[in-house]
Each structure stands twice: as structure tokens, then as C-alpha cells.
Symmetry: D2
Amino acid sequence: MKYGLIGTSGRMGKEISAVFDEAGHELVFSYDIDGITEKDTPEMIVDFSLPVAFAATMQYVIKYKCPLVIGTTGLDSAQMNELQELSSSVAIVQSFNFSLGVQMMLRCIEAVKPHLKGWDVEISETHHRFKKDKPSGTALMMKTSLGKDAPISSLRLGNVAGDHKITFASLGETFSIEHSATSRRTFAEGVLSSANYVINKQAGLYSFKDVIDDAC
Amino acid sequence: MKYGLIGTSGRMGKEISAVFDEAGHELVFSYDIDGITEKDTPEMIVDFSLPVAFAATMQYVIKYKCPLVIGTTGLDSAQMNELQELSSSVAIVQSFNFSLGVQMMLRCIEAVKPHLKGWDVEISETHHRFKKDKPSGTALMMKTSLGKDAPISSLRLGNVAGDHKITFASLGETFSIEHSATSRRTFAEGVLSSANYVINKQAGLYSFKDVIDDAC
Amino acid sequence: MKYGLIGTSGRMGKEISAVFDEAGHELVFSYDIDGITEKDTPEMIVDFSLPVAFAATMQYVIKYKCPLVIGTTGLDSAQMNELQELSSSVAIVQSFNFSLGVQMMLRCIEAVKPHLKGWDVEISETHHRFKKDKPSGTALMMKTSLGKDAPISSLRLGNVAGDHKITFASLGETFSIEHSATSRRTFAEGVLSSANYVINKQAGLYSFKDVIDDAC
Amino acid sequence: MKYGLIGTSGRMGKEISAVFDEAGHELVFSYDIDGITEKDTPEMIVDFSLPVAFAATMQYVIKYKCPLVIGTTGLDSAQMNELQELSSSVAIVQSFNFSLGVQMMLRCIEAVKPHLKGWDVEISETHHRFKKDKPSGTALMMKTSLGKDAPISSLRLGNVAGDHKITFASLGETFSIEHSATSRRTFAEGVLSSANYVINKQAGLYSFKDVIDDAC
């Protein structure tokens, strides 16, 4: 497919264009702090940039009347509302995490939580020393899936890409679900799956969970 | 409730009677290598013994026309057929594993496997040095749930009660589900849940999975 | 050997007398909240009780002029000074932890710390839900061995007997040392090793580390 | 320093030149399948290539009379003998593993093994799916350090860079030491430490363990 990419030069932007290239897709529209390149009309657009670029993203999606996959974090509620409105005319996949394994972890938490109501729960996450915020957004998503409060331990170690673990325990057993990212590439692959999904969808606002459900 | 127990003096028998006692239930019928005690008519019978006692179990369930929870391992197919036939007249829960956490692990494996088809899988299990058989029955149940072949690593260490882990991995992430038994009591609690379930059920053959599903 | 035990009916007291009995030693003097039994002259005394019994411990060690192994926690500095003084006339092993594995962990921390000065460090400990204090005393011992500050994460889960882990990380690797207690018996075995050590020693105040060093 | 590099275009060669560049060192001599570049006289030479280049390595070290750090694997005993002979006139650091963490793991194994003689031991290693050989060379080094036989479990999962773990267990506790490589860069840093070490040394054959011991 011919695709557009907003946030081309960022760390995720580079991963995304590499993964899309390998899959035989062609970058025809690029928007970045360094400039804009429009070689052709994109069949869909990916935005993995910053909230400041959001207005431009909206403008180009409307211009090209094409589907959008957006993974930009930090959007405010007004911007989320704009996305919602735009989704009445184009298909949009929006998510804060495009890792399949994280989705599997959330799915498992939802599957087991009705059975483990009286069990103790602890969440822990380990990230590289440069990650300043605690706890991680994914750990908070885990707590949301759990549907009740749970302590979160945050460890900062070396260059760990991102480990998350939830442990349930009764007086006779412990049960854990754990995810480790071993490369940023995995997120780019989730974006590619989302692009393949969204390009054939009717207008609407979809999540990465919808993409995964569709794949089975 | 008034209950009967076949295999009273075994390690699991002792755990079961302790857990049932704490819950206010009364042992009125006991069958064991050491003898038989019939103080009253049991409302249900638990059998956690050996295949040699199976004929006696059948006889007493028929005599008392009461539900049965049976966790005896090593039954042959003829005995399993007898159970099946008996279940046309009484309610029976049969399982090889009464741990809630192991059931949760199997459930998660089934939930994620359609999404992780191309991922590598490894199963590992660790048990105390006295466990001679490799791999563990639970590891084989995990492979059955997975629905495809996977290597199983078996470690034998000290007095580890029983750890099981399954790890899925793509080129960018790993996803693991892990269970550890920390006491034999947990299995006795699964038997008690099964007793509470079976006592109000119509005739039929139920699994521990049915018991768990009913609890939610 | 003929031994005395102060704190006979406590959880550790029971473990200690079981382990000593199995090794063929004879309990000839017992002191507890329930009473005192003096059947014979002990060759050494074990105190695993509470600070309130400390005065009695001192009195009996002086009476019998015999070695002492003491694992009572919560002694104040005056009591520690009394121990120090008493050690000029009898051999005493004093420690807050009689687990061989914990000593190995501390030893490894000391062995690697000069090489990992610039690495990140995180300590974590997991204990049963009934343990109210955070962090554990052993985690603090680990920080002392490390010789610098490090974050400690404390998890409280089910009936976990006691797990401790220290992880060092640079930008290219992580290195961890981990200990799990799987039964209280292990501490009783450390006490037995200490008893065998102290019975042939000259007067002095020894640590469990001394006992272990002597064993090799 | 001005350094030479044999095996410039390999995966490790690229990591090494990147790490040396960042540290301000200048590549003045390069030898590779693609050709030879001699811009200046190197103060030391690094060889991270293949056994077929060994003869060239010897020739250039003799030509420049400079120290050598060599991490090439698969050298035969004749080549190892040549290294030994050459070390009578120049300083050489030779190792199959330049990871500081792996050295720490080996050091800990040696520190604890005399104390854990009767304990069970299990070694496990996890590597990416492309690693065909089992077990890993590092796992074998661990067994050598242990000084006795131990089972090795080998797991092959995704793109795991390299995890190694050794667990000791008695009937009451388990004690583990674990190492994970999170980037190949860590080995290049070990090579840089070795270069800084060897450049001021007298003629002789040194190991990476010597480099580490010297650093403290």
C-alpha cells in the first residue's frame, strides 16, 4: 500500500517505516519537524508523533479522506473528541500500546479476575534508568483491567526495554502473568497489523484490541 | 454437611478432612487401608485414594445414592467408563487437578493461543527432588491446552512444591504465564468447592472447570 | 549432645527440637512460658525466644557454664552488651538469620560490588500477607552488604515464606542474585550447624558467617 | 589510543569500533574480508573475527610489536599454542566472553560452591530461536566453575539475547544467580576495558578475569 507517516524521524517513526518497507509498502507522504514530502496520495496515514502535530494530522486525513492509525500519547480530551468526530467519516485505529503481548496480558487479567477475587495482587514493572515517570502507563492499564486497586512496584534498571508482571496469590498458590518487550520493533509490527486492518474498514473508531480480535 | 472420605489417612486425605472440618462439615463415613467407619449417612463422598479402592468407592456411592468428588489419579479407561455410567444417576466431579491457579493458567493458554500462532513456545516445570517422573502431569495438561507440540524442560530442585511456566516469544516480546503451588492445602480447598458444587447438582459428570465456571 | 532450649513452644522452637531430635541430640533443659524442665545438665543452650526471656537465658548459661546459640530478635543494645561481656567466658553464636542461602547471597553481594560500582541496583522482597513490616530485615542486611543506598520494593502475597532478590544492571546486561525460603526448617538446620560449631570453641562472640566459614 | 581492528565489518567488529570511537580512540589499522587499511601504527590490536584470520593477526601483532586483545572463538589448540608463544614477547588478553556480568556469575558460583555441596543444582539458559547449538558455551563455563555435573535446560525463544541461570536448592531454600545480556554493546565495553588494561602490561597471556581483578 501507499502510506503516509507523521513523525517520520522519531524513534518509533523509524521503526515503523522500516517494518512497512520490509512488507513492501511505499512511503508517499511524510510529515515531520524537518519538513513535508508529498510524493503521492496515501491510502492510509500513521501518526506516531506528538500532540503538537495533531492539528496537521487531522488536516491531512481530511484532505486525503483516508484511514488513520494513531499511537501518539498525551492527547487531551478535546483532541480525543476531534478523533471521535472524524471517525464518523473515516476508519481510525487509536491505541496507546500496539504490543500484542500486552494485549494478551490484559486479556488474561480480565479472564481470571472473576475467579481470584479474594486473592492478593501485586503489579510490578521494570524499565530502563532513563524512564522518569512511575508507574508506567501499561501498569496503569493493567490496574484498570484488574478493576480494583493493587500496589505497583516500579524498578529502574539499565536499559531494560519494558517488563510488566502481575501476581495473584492465595494462601496456597501464586499465579503470575508477565510480559517483556525485547525490541521496539514489536510495536511497529502492531502498527502494521492495524494498518492492514483499518484500510478495509468502514468509518468508525477502533482499538488495537479490535485489530487483534479480528485476526483470529 | 455430613461427608464421607475414601483415602482418609493419605497426605491429601488428611488435608481434605482438615479443610472440611474447618468449614464445619462432619466426617461420618471413612474408608481406608486401616478400616471402615460408618457413623451416619454421608450427603456426599470424596475419593482421593488409589485405583485399588475404586470398586469400593463405586459400591458406597451406589449404597448411599450420593454425589461424588473424585481426584484419584491412575484410573484406567474401564474405571473411567464406570464413572461415566454412574453419572447417569448421581452427580460426579472428576478432575486430576483441583488447583484454581492451574485452571486459570490453562484458561489463559486457551485465551491467547489463537493470537500467538507463530510465536515460539517453551514449557518448564520445577518440582522437588523426590518427583521421579518427567514431565509432570500438569505440564502435559498445559501442552494439551496449547494444542500443539512444545518443548518441556523439567527441573528437580530441593522441596519445591510445584512450579509451572509457559513462555511465548516473538522476535520483539516474550509473554509468560506461571503458577506455583505453595501448599498442598490449596488442592483440598478445590475439593471443598467441588463438594459444595456437586451437592446441589443433577446427575451428570462434571469437571473442576465446571465448578470454577459456576463460581462466577 | 545434651542440649537446652529456651522458647521451646514457639514456631522456631518446635522446628529446632525436631531437627535436633532427628540428629540424635537430647533435650535435657527446656524453658518456656509454660514452665521449666531440668532433666540433666545441657552441654549447650539454644535461645530462640523473645527479649523478655533474655535475663533467664543469661542466668542459665552462667549456671551451666555452657556455650549458647542465640537467634532471638529485638534485643536492645544493653542486652547486646551483656552478650558481649558473657562471651569473655563462654562461646556464643549470635545471628538474626540462620539460613545458609541468605549468607551465600550476602557473600555474593560483597564479592561483586567492587566491580559493579556504576551499575543500577534494585532490591526486592516478597513475603506472606501477614508480614506487616516493610522492608524485611534481610533486605536491610542486603543493603548493608551492598554498602550504598538502593531502592527496596516490598511485595506482600499469599503465604510466600520469603523471597529476596537483588538486581544489578548496566546498559547492556543485568545480573541478579535471588533467595527463596521454602520451609522454616532451613533456619533450624542453621541453628544445628551453629550448635555443632560452638560446642568446641573457645570463649568468644561468633556470627553465623563464622560458622559457615568454618564448614569449608 | 591508536588501535587496530581485525574483523571490522562483523557484528562484534562494528560494536567495538563504535565503543572505541565514543571513548576517543582512533582506528588506524583495519583488516577484514573487504580489505586492509593501514593509516598509522596501532598501539594495540583487537581481533574479533574468525579462525581463518588468525595467521594474519599473528603477522600484524609481530609487525607492530603491540599488545593484542583477542575474542575470536573456535581457535584450535595449535593456534592457542601460538598465542602462548607470542605472549612471551607481547601482552595478550584472550577470552571467549567479555561480559562483566558473566564473570560476576562465575565468581559467585566459585564463592558459594564449597558451602552448597549437598544441594541440588540446575542450570538453564535461554537464547533466540536462531541459536542452534545446545547448551550454550557460557552454560558450559558455568558447569566448569561449579566443578561437578549438573543438568542444563536450554530454551530457544524469540530474540532473547542470552539469559543464564543457576539454581541451588536444599530441602528448605533455593538460591539462584542469573545473568541477562540486553545488548551486544556490553561485550564491546569488555573489550575496551581489556584494551586499556593490556596496553600498559608486560608481555604475558592474560584473561578477562585478570582485567576485572585489576579494575578493583
